[in-house]
């Protein structure tokens, strides 16, 4: 079993006397990524602040390796755990490179002067997060996203065993979000850094984490692998959102469906319906969809957005019962859109629906606007 670099025992965290979360028992191994997820205000930051000693635990203990957190000197802790929290960093006359250099702080001597070795580490980190082009700019003059990357470079060049990040992807555009996740993955696998962070982006959390800690209502709700967490509608429950708002396979979100009786019936399947659903949703037109297999790529979207949905079990041909159901709903709609381009054995009943729609003169072809 891999070496455990950080663990907590019956840890309770909070501010002063105010308890935020109690009963945290987690352990993080070398080279693994632990992500904290949960609704706003659940106390993710409080946990992170406690394990990097910004806050003292109300109860319980945090262990860094085998040592108790409170017994480490400031310098020892700084060397083995680098933290990047959400507090604003202000500077005066500092280039981005100077800010990165501060990352080497615990390794420097009495006056904080960097050795050649330190400088190499700084340049390496600058390269790693791709900020060479802004390294000589004033830290105050760069954008929030660039600033975030500079601070991440600072944390990386400290070469900690444990990297603690509070919402590190905030302010980053998709390119740098992806790059950040790649960097974290690489740090974990190459340098065996343990990474503990909080994320709001569930899609990223699902892809990058080895373990997830879900926090809700003053306690850790679940602790497990992404596969264990992204299942059975648990996340919708964690965030208190409507069923169907979150696709568990992709961690993506869907907006609330348009209410009312369906006006349009969409014959869908195979993925081509997704753009139609989105457009109808955008125009605020309530719609029904069918018949869609439950393993169809567009099923999660249709499930989230359609007022009524007729679905069929995976790998089964469409049953007569479901066909009748779809036909009935379609009859009550004003118009029909067919998004399916070709029909096969499994969805030949959909072709029948199309024929019926044509007969009733309800079929809308080509682009639609109303």
């Amino acid at each position: 079993m891999a070496e455990i670099v950080l663990s907590t025992q019956k840890l309770s965290v909070g501010y002063g006397k105010k308890l935020v979360i109690s009963g945290i028992d987690i352990s993080v191994e070398r080279g693994k990524i632990l992500t904290l997820i949960g609704p706003n205000g659940a106390g993710k930051s409080t946990v992170l602040k406690t394990i990097c000693r910004q806050l003292t635990p109300l109860e319980g203990t945090v262990y860094i390796g085998k040592n108790k957190l409170e017994e480490l000197s400031g310098n020892e802790l700084a060397k083995c755990a680098a933290a990047l929290l959400t507090g604003k960093v202000k500077t005066e006359y500092m280039r981005c490179r100077d800010v990165v250099k501060m990352g080497r702080y615990p390794y420097t001597g009495r006056l904080g002067i960097l050795s050649e070795h330190d400088k190499d580490k700084v340049e390496e980190a600058i390269k790693k997060v791709d900020i060479e082009n802004i390294a000589d700019n004033d830290f105050d003059s760069v954008s929030d996203g660039q600033r975030q990357r500079v601070l991440i470079a600072g944390a990386i060049c400290r070469e900690p065993q444990i990297l603690i990040l509070d919402e590190p992807s905030t302010f980053l555009d998709i390119k740098y979000k992806l790059e950040l996740m790649d960097i974290l993955k690489r740090l974990a696998s190459e340098k065996k850094t343990a990474i503990i962070m909080s994320l709001h982006e569930l899609d990223l959390a699902q892809r990058v984490s080895d373990k997830l800690l879900c926090i809700k209502g003053n306690r850790p709700d679940r602790f497990g692998t992404p596969e264990e967490i992204f299942t059975g509608g648990y996340l919708e429950q964690l965030y208190d959102v409507e069923k169907g708002s979150l696709c568990e396979y992709y961690g993506t979100l869907e907006l609330h469906r348009s209410d009312g009786n369906p006006k349009v019936f969409v014959i869908g399947g195979g993925g081509s319906g997704i753009t139609v659903y989105r457009k109808l949703h955008r125009l605020g037109i309530p719609f029904a969809a069918g018949v869609i297999h439950q393993n169809d790529i567009e099923y999660p979207v249709a499930f989230a957005l359609a007022v009524k949905l007729v679905s069929e079990k995976a790998f089964e041909p469409i049953s007569e019962e479901n066909y009748q159901k779809a036909f009935e709903i379609m009859s009550n709609c004003e118009s029909v859109i067919c998004a399916v381009e070709s029909f096969g054995t499994m969805n030949k009943q959909c072709q029948e629906l199309l024929n019926e729609a044509k007969k009733a003169g309800k079929l809308v072809e080509g682009a639609f606007d109303e």
Partner: protein, 340 residues
Amino acid sequence: MDSRVKRITIGYTILIVLLIVLVILNICVGSADILPNRLWKAIRFPENDKVAYNIVFGLRIPRTFAAVILGGALAVAGFLLQNFFANPIAGPYILGISSGAKLTVAMLMVISLSKGFAANSAEMVIAAFVGSLISMGLILLISAKVQRMSVLIVCGVMIGYICSSVTDLVVNLSDDSNIVNLHNWSMGSFSGITMSDVLTATCIIIPACFCAFMLSKPMSAYQLGEEYAQNSGVHIKAFRITLILLSSLLAACVTAFAGPVSFVGVAVPHLIKSIFRTAKPVITLPSSFLGGAVFCLFCDLITRTLFAPTELSISTVTSIFGAPVVIYMLLNRERLKENG
């Protein structure tokens, strides 16, 4: 050479040259001008030119060195306070710390005069230190309550006013012929400082500044915010207490010997930082000391020579040069805020 290193080297060279030139000017120029060759002769053969010797060694050298040491101390005290409060406008005078020290020193003087003994310089420094710590305590209490730095500054100025008013009251209530002396001191002046006072001040200020310099490293992390410093391994509590004690001690020491001297603590570190284009304490702390010394030498020269033989108070001159810098900084800050 790296342009930054070049800038710093040139900056230091200019400061040192200015310091030397101003020290010589301060010793030579005055109501009786003593040219360098006469000065040199007087130093070598004191018996031949007793007048020059007495002026130089009895008055000008102590005064000049007082300006160097105390000016440097003020700038360093200001630099420390600016770091502590993360506010470029903080300084011992603006936050009322000098005025607090002034009040306790005035009280000690009045009490000692009425009891018929003269307080020695060590006692004065202790009294000043107590006063500055009281003011500092008040400021810290306020800073725990308010987040806005401008409110803190206003409160500091108000504390300064209260202390000054009480000082005036105390000074006026006491009935003594020495009152004139006391009055001079309470306006701020480098005159009347003896060589032994300068030595006492040096013995306190140099070690204090050295300690402050040794705090350069944690200070540089603290400049990025308390959270950042803590993550870098700085023991925040100990660091903050040391910073408070050092800046109070430096401000107290200056006040005990020269009375309140305004704006040096705010203006000098700011000027130094903008000239050197860095806020790194390793570089800016020693240069602030030099800058403070140069600034005070220059201002003291003006107080003595502008309306000679009448002397101005040192704060009159330092305010004229220092206050505009503060106004400029305030405006600059507002502009930065507007830009985001």
